[in-house]
Point group: D2
Chain length 397, copies 4
Amino acid sequence: MSSQPSTSLESDAFEAFCAVRSATEALTAGLSAEDCQIQSMPDASPAKWHLAHTSWFFETFLLLPLMPEYQAFDPAYTVLFNSYYVGVGERFARPQRGLLTRPSLDQVIAYRHHVDAAMAKLIASVSPGKWRDLVELGLHHEQQHQELILMDIQHAFSLNPLQPAYRDNTPDRVASDAVTWVQVPGGLGEIGHDGSGFSFDNEGPRHRVWTEPFEIADRLVTAGAYLEFIAAGGYATAELWLSDGWATVEAESWTAPLYWQDTADGWTRFSLDGRVAVDPSEPVMHLSYYEADAFARWAGARLPTEAEWEIAARHALLREVDDLAWQWTASPYVGYPGFAAAAGAVGEYNGKFMVNQFVLRGGSLATPAGHTRLTYRNFFPPAARWAFSGIRLARCS
Amino acid sequence: MSSQPSTSLESDAFEAFCAVRSATEALTAGLSAEDCQIQSMPDASPAKWHLAHTSWFFETFLLLPLMPEYQAFDPAYTVLFNSYYVGVGERFARPQRGLLTRPSLDQVIAYRHHVDAAMAKLIASVSPGKWRDLVELGLHHEQQHQELILMDIQHAFSLNPLQPAYRDNTPDRVASDAVTWVQVPGGLGEIGHDGSGFSFDNEGPRHRVWTEPFEIADRLVTAGAYLEFIAAGGYATAELWLSDGWATVEAESWTAPLYWQDTADGWTRFSLDGRVAVDPSEPVMHLSYYEADAFARWAGARLPTEAEWEIAARHALLREVDDLAWQWTASPYVGYPGFAAAAGAVGEYNGKFMVNQFVLRGGSLATPAGHTRLTYRNFFPPAARWAFSGIRLARCS
Amino acid sequence: MSSQPSTSLESDAFEAFCAVRSATEALTAGLSAEDCQIQSMPDASPAKWHLAHTSWFFETFLLLPLMPEYQAFDPAYTVLFNSYYVGVGERFARPQRGLLTRPSLDQVIAYRHHVDAAMAKLIASVSPGKWRDLVELGLHHEQQHQELILMDIQHAFSLNPLQPAYRDNTPDRVASDAVTWVQVPGGLGEIGHDGSGFSFDNEGPRHRVWTEPFEIADRLVTAGAYLEFIAAGGYATAELWLSDGWATVEAESWTAPLYWQDTADGWTRFSLDGRVAVDPSEPVMHLSYYEADAFARWAGARLPTEAEWEIAARHALLREVDDLAWQWTASPYVGYPGFAAAAGAVGEYNGKFMVNQFVLRGGSLATPAGHTRLTYRNFFPPAARWAFSGIRLARCS
Amino acid sequence: MSSQPSTSLESDAFEAFCAVRSATEALTAGLSAEDCQIQSMPDASPAKWHLAHTSWFFETFLLLPLMPEYQAFDPAYTVLFNSYYVGVGERFARPQRGLLTRPSLDQVIAYRHHVDAAMAKLIASVSPGKWRDLVELGLHHEQQHQELILMDIQHAFSLNPLQPAYRDNTPDRVASDAVTWVQVPGGLGEIGHDGSGFSFDNEGPRHRVWTEPFEIADRLVTAGAYLEFIAAGGYATAELWLSDGWATVEAESWTAPLYWQDTADGWTRFSLDGRVAVDPSEPVMHLSYYEADAFARWAGARLPTEAEWEIAARHALLREVDDLAWQWTASPYVGYPGFAAAAGAVGEYNGKFMVNQFVLRGGSLATPAGHTRLTYRNFFPPAARWAFSGIRLARCS
């Protein structure tokens, strides 16, 4: 990128910008143009779309408003790569994202570099007060899409009978030790982001919350424990399930987590490494809220609320916090007391999804390092399973 | 009913039993066998089914377990009139309830009287400790179905081009005065039922909850205020809506509350009295959570949480609490801290619906007198509109 | 009925009118108002609707145009009981016919008698040239609905777990003897109605058609023969089926004719007499075109074309022609050469259904005596099974 | 390709083989790997799939059975690229063909060349009697897929807001002159293929058929004539349509042929050349059977039967026979008298689709030169519009 910013603040910002941007491209470096083209279900998006949409963010919210001389790479991209920002105008129908063979992956990469070059100029020439917060938001937004790229490509590859692996250099498997139950006293506490440093709007305002004493597991539920639930007939026992959960189990014929298969050689799961054996000592993943809730009931426990999770995490009582699997909480995703969405299209970011979803806390093996915080609120509908979602148990003291 | 109970306690119980049971039949007295036959959508049930199912409750949970000599009216009814009690065995598919022309309405009424007579004997001859709680639960359960009968028949009649009225003796229209905002200080409070007297399982346990100071409207939103929202383009402004709400508005082509029509002579609404003019001074009803939430946003306010609602109501700060329209709260329907479903089939009552629904508080013009409490938690999915559901606003202080 | 017609022609016409009209009411005499209310699937209609719609025909096409003094029983019925006559105006949505609890069955019967009385006057007072053809059409139309009443009530009752019987006085079972193959020489022949006496528009014009020599079974395929097809894995052998047929078998999980169940005591079928044992010697019924076609392929035969059927029937070579089960032909339902729909709403009768259906020939145990002719063309979509539809085989010589 | 066949017969066969195979690749030469990846609707297939499936045909029906030494390029392709040949084993679900990013386009091209090389050896070394008919069938099969590639890519590109053109070298536009009605006497004639030279199984057997005298248009209906139908309210006049056609018009909101848009600058249509103006003198295309039938009724004419079409074409009475647009006939697609599907998987070719489709005759601008014959029977469901389908009118004399 040509224009190098001069001062330290700008230099740091530009370095951070380049780091995140190149990390995204690194994720798709091993994928073909065809791999990046497809959309395997309405909830997923093509990798090419993720690459373009994250660039669209910087073009739409920074370059076009702040740099009068900026030439859009292609005005049509404004519609093509908008996601849900209704305020910014017409969107291309989400379920048809996989049909956009044009622009090509090469053109989208060129678009990225066009935006990167312009961002370098912007950072070097425009007053930081005008862009600092939005650049930071844009980078955190892009990191979210980094995880989505992995979720979506794993899902797409899982449907290919050839069962291709996303990567060759498989990382070491992670074993989750036996669980220790941690006691937490309860009382009047505080949760939510206090505003120092970056956070998404939905993490605040920080607010007081009352909790009763509780116990929480220091580690995640393992595949081995989940196999016991399966063996005990968990998927065939209506009493363990929420009513909507049971209806989903029946409609979708669920008998195990997403990607699992019961083969002649034992249970396997499809992963970024292709199809591999289920290791009983690894954390179970790719579960819906319904499954997490039913498992907890079967285990004589429950899911923690997000307040309980955050209080326990803040007191450093938990292990496997954000490096293995997101953890479903018992908390429906709603705004905190005093929450108000920011004005303008950027304000559409989180608020309008505050219905029909549950909060997950922590982070996963697919989350970019440093992306999450203890106040971070991820969320998915209760039937969603393609996230790297697992279980941490809680129970009343 | 032949066997009259002798002691005062039993006598009171029997009187209460008879009062609720006959109230149900009074609700359907003006309906034909055909009216009682049909099911106008999967969420609704035929009046005949309500009449039978409420009797099934007493037969299944009281007569069969407690009276060895009891002869079931018809063993087949066990399957036909079970609703969602999975533990009690096979259920007749809910969307096909409207297809049960046999048994006839006359037979179902005979079934009711058969159960009533046996219940009289049971109350007179079995130790109250064995039946008191279950009878009380059964009567409250039946009162819930009394309101459902009215909801369902209004919905069914609304689809008939003849637009028949359910009743002739229209009660006086109720006007809702101008709203006064009431200040509530917040702090550590308690909500939920304390266990003295009857409550449903989902109303407890009573527990501490922290609230910030807030303001709440003493009265409900009127049809007139809602007409302003419509006139201001509320149904065409995506920014006012939750994402799922907007998708529903578009998919269902919503432009007004359920049952409303914009005619040459002004707005009308279909009601138990047939089609009548919308009176701007009456509370608006038949709204989804999505509409209540969007209206609140447009009005610069929000919906109250159920804790806020209950605290304000407990302090007698509210008017129009339970006699006009249920009030959507901002609270998703989940179990209170420490909630655990009761064991057995009766325990399926409320717990398994604790997902994908929102809590409504108060009561409506269709709720039997004395049925609700300040701790009462009604709930419906956010898109449901056939309940008598309205809006009470709140805002941060 | 008050006004008796005087002359012989009018007297005969009135007698025929009364005979058909009362036969319809006789069919529903044993049904309750509730039985007559329901619609068990979109293709079916409530018996009450059939009773009303057949009266609507006489009111709409005869009384209103020809008798200026006629007072409609209720003007709203024009919309409620129109079926598919788009030319006559707005129709009530077909899938919601089961929701019309008002008018009641009693009112519909009163409507029938109102129309009957007026028709008596019309026949007595208006010149026969104005009504003769339309009355004849109306009566044949009503006879079609007589068979539909039986089809629809059997379907509705079949879904009731109580499995009620439509009638008590079960007629004798009919056994179909061993089949004899009849040789027919082929050549230039004629089929279709020649215009003498009543026929539906789709039966003409009579026209020449060339057929090659063929053989045709003198009797229908028996349940016993069909059981062999089932036992041989017919429903699990894709090669036997048309592509759309196989897709339907899989989507609907078909393993036997409609209404059949494989019980511990052998195969049973639901019928107008309730659930009865399958008699191997009786003709198989309640088959789709797909099943008839697959069975024929399995049996080394094929279905006859409608030309072959009619030529063979005209030469009196067939038995079990019209008294047991309609016979699927290999002929898609299209207009004969030179066919043109009659002008006006009555002309909508048959022409617009000439796509996506197959012709059935003959008649069934549910067809009113004297209703059909050798040129009669019944038709249903290839997946329909609730008609009394069976199989007659053919093969090339 | 290495092994050149030596004799003239083999040399001719190999030349024909190479010509068709390379023509397929020429069609996709201008498409990117991404363009070849996608499937825009369940009825369509990716170009990559077409490239692979046509090779699979030669591998499955020729190389594997006839050349013991043949090494399959990849055994997994047997499942991946089977289409509807149930007899050959498990098929990859049709609607998911667009998800196969692996194998890549490059690998599929390599697969093609692997098969081509092996076919060269087979033709050079195996007795022609063993392969001649199957090679011929495979090449005609591949030509069918050549037209499908164009249909499918046009459909896919039409959904891209960028509206990309498939080709730059737009051929000259074709104008259809004024129509002349040709009289044909009728009588006993013959249609169908007589077995000399190649034909698909569904074109025979040749058989006698009786036709009445008729008139047929020597040219196709123009876009200009169709615009008159639109302007006259054709799409809003229920009386013009078959019942299922009208239901489709309403459900799909049809107001013009597929790909047409009514813009400020007049009517445009999406085509292989991108979006272009509708030329009133060109033949109208991309119509369903329902539209062709409704237009004919509006024009006071009808569609020809396939017998009429073939007889007129055989007498050289028609122009624009096979070079512009396929012509819907009034004939449902069924087997000719005496038709029997060939044994084995190849026999699944045409017979099992003989339901719920109509025959189209002729050929289109997208049909490979020399592919069709006067006996050729194309077929599509009556609602399909993405073929290059137009109208030729007929009427009774």
